[in-house]
Amino acid sequence: MIETTALVLLTVISAATPLLFAAMGELVVEKSGVLNLGIEGMMLAGAVAAFAVTVSYDSAILGVLAGALAGAALAFVFGVLTLTLAANQVATGLALTIFGVGLTALIGASYVGVPVQPLPKLDVPGLSDLPLIGSLLFGHDALVYLSIAATLGVAWFLKHSRAGMILRAVGESDISAHSIGYDVISVRYRAVLFGGAMSGLGGAFLSLSSTPMWVEGMTAGRGWIALALVVFASWRPGRVLLGAYLFGGVTILQLYAQGAGGIGIPAQVMSMLPYLATILVLTVIAAGPWKGRLDAPACLGKPFRPST
């Protein structure tokens, strides 16, 4: 039983990590008042770049870096369009996803069918062999630990650092932040680039760790789940972590439940659960006793044009 639980949880970790990366990045972007719907495209860019570089230079570290850079590069395009040129963020984000799907298919065409060495697992001698805890806490690849570290980092940054407070101020009231002398556009650029790099890392995890291969459109909608996650988490890092593991967990549990002979609930219903949960959370927050505490950044999605 303990053995099975550990195995299920291991699979949950690999399903949750890409969601966690992408959602944590998007959280920071949205906290700065920018809505980037291009997560799927940026994840794919990260996945193909990480794969191509790892294969070409035989270096996983370079590959992961390339994944983050590729995500950030695509995010930079988004930034130029929406921040500098003040284009509509929703339309630009959607275009970014569509562009990313096509571009990565083109770049990745010659990498289909090429095998890659998966990311090395960081085994700690002695500790990794401990029952249950050993396999759960140790023996993952570096990206899994990085995703957790990034969560803690983002939580600390937003709550306790000066820069984090400025970022939140920019997201809540860009005009006020601007009038007391903060460079709204510059803050948002940095947030957007960070979000892109995080999406890229999520993609890199997909193509180097969870399914070490490149095939077109391999994110299969995970970018959109990450987007829903940020709302589900009502823009709080801790809840994003919880949500990523919850969403990942439900998906994995329904697969195991099928293998165990079913639990009387159709697989399709189980697949719906994460989204039902998102809707439920939104409804409860909007209508329940916590009314008005949805905590969406007030300037989310609004372009900012500094007047003089």
């Binding site: 289909v112 399914t211 095939v215 994110t219 299969a220």
Partner: protein
């Protein structure tokens, strides 16, 4: 020889790029007008599975006929209203022959075919023909029978894991063929099915495979389109079968063999028929005998004895002395569905909606 690559989103957004690619292809004039062959794919050509197989055959048409043909394809077309728009666009842009390569394109294909009686349509894996719509399918269940035989010999745990996409007859009959032939070798063998509700989601296919292996499966079969399941089998040190193309690059040790979809012969013949103006509607279901279903070379883990057993089954299915669904066959409840001495008809196989004994789905 000319290829236009268009994506579904190009159509959906009415993007100028997508449409101008088609019209450019149309403007490209040859002395004798080339025969235009169009393809509608459900997945990306880079999936290394189902759609990849069809695209290899499309390239075979170009290689065979050179300047006498012009092929084009639209990839990532979702089954439903979108596909009807895509098919109509192809038909109205002067395409002579259109292959729609997924089950869910059936009704859209039939509707468009009515509007364009001069255009010939070929729909894969469906069951409804029209004066200008042919239906073609491959007897993949024959390949599954060979896989089942190998699985029956090689499974130590007796649990065969199966990643399913959607419980349509095509997939159900594959599961049944696997279970039936595995149990001829090992009567206590079980086929455990996990549905991922997608034709193509590498992450979920891989997670489902992990779930199957964690629950005792030591042979992995798949009816989804990415190499993720067999790759996961390789990583976990168990064996399995590739899907639609030879996936040994992803699983040099784990892949025992793979069912190969060989559409080239049929596609070339039908293109020739259109050129000769001898195209007629038909419904064909080709298998090992006609070469539409083939098997990849055995992997290193398959012993000589198992190879021999598999070869015998393959030879029997090819020459017709063996039938995939020959009785006696019992369903999950243990009732006899096909009596001893009888075989299922093509119609019954094509509409299979029940599981044989030994399937856990």
């Amino acid at each position: 020889m000319m290829t236009a690559r268009v994506t579904r989103r190009g159509f959906v957004l009415g993007s100028a790029a997508g449409l101008s690619a088609l019209s450019l292809a149309g403007r490209h004039a040859f002395a004798a007008a080339p025969t235009k062959v169009g393809f509608v794919y459900v997945g990306p050509v880079g999936d290394f599975g189902w759609t990849h197989g069809h695209d290899v055959a499309r390239q075979a048409i170009e290689a065979k006929f050179g300047d006498k043909v012009e092929t084009s394809f639209v990839e990532n077309v979702s089954e439903g209203p979108d596909s009807e728009r895509v098919i109509r666009k192809l038909a109205s842009s002067g395409t002579d022959l259109i292959f729609t390569t997924s089950f869910g394109f059936m009704n859209p294909t039939l509707r468009v075919a009515k509007l364009f009686p001069k255009v010939k349509f070929e729909h894969a894996t469906g069951y409804q023909t029209a004066p200008n719509v042919s239906v073609y399918n491959a007897r993949f269940h024959q390949g599954r029978a060979i896989c089942g035989t190998i699985a029956g010999h090689m499974s130590k745990s007796g649990v065969i894991g199966y990643i399913g996409s959607f419980p349509i007859p095509e997939v159900v009959s594959g599961i049944n063929a696997t279970a039936l032939w595995a149990r001829k070798i090992r009567p206590d063998a079980k086929v455990k099915v996990i549905w991922v509700n997608s034709w193509y989601d590498p992450g979920k296919e891989s997670d489902g495979t992990k779930a199957l292996i964690d629950q005792g499966a030591d042979i992995i079969c798949q009816h989804t389109d990415s190499p993720a399941p067999i790759q996961t089998a390789e990583a976990r040190g168990v064996h399995g079968f590739g899907q639609a193309s030879d996936m040994k690059a992803y699983a040099p040790n784990a892949q025992l063999t793979s069912i190969l979809d060989e559409w080239s012969g049929y596609y070339i013949q039908r293109t020739q028929d259109v050129m000769d103006k001898s195209w007629q509607t038909q419904s064909i279901w080709w298998g090992l005998k006609e070469g539409m279903v083939a098997m990849a070379p055995y992997g290193p883990a398959v012993s000589d004895a198992v190879r021999k057993a598999a070869d015998t089954v393959q030879a029997g299915l090819t020459d017709g002395s063996l039938h995939t669904f020959a009785g006696p066959i019992k369903n999950q409840a243990g009732e006899v569905k096909v009596a001893a001495g009888e075989s299922m008809s093509d119609g019954d196989m094509a509409g299979m909606d029940w599981y044989v004994e030994g399937v856990e789905a």
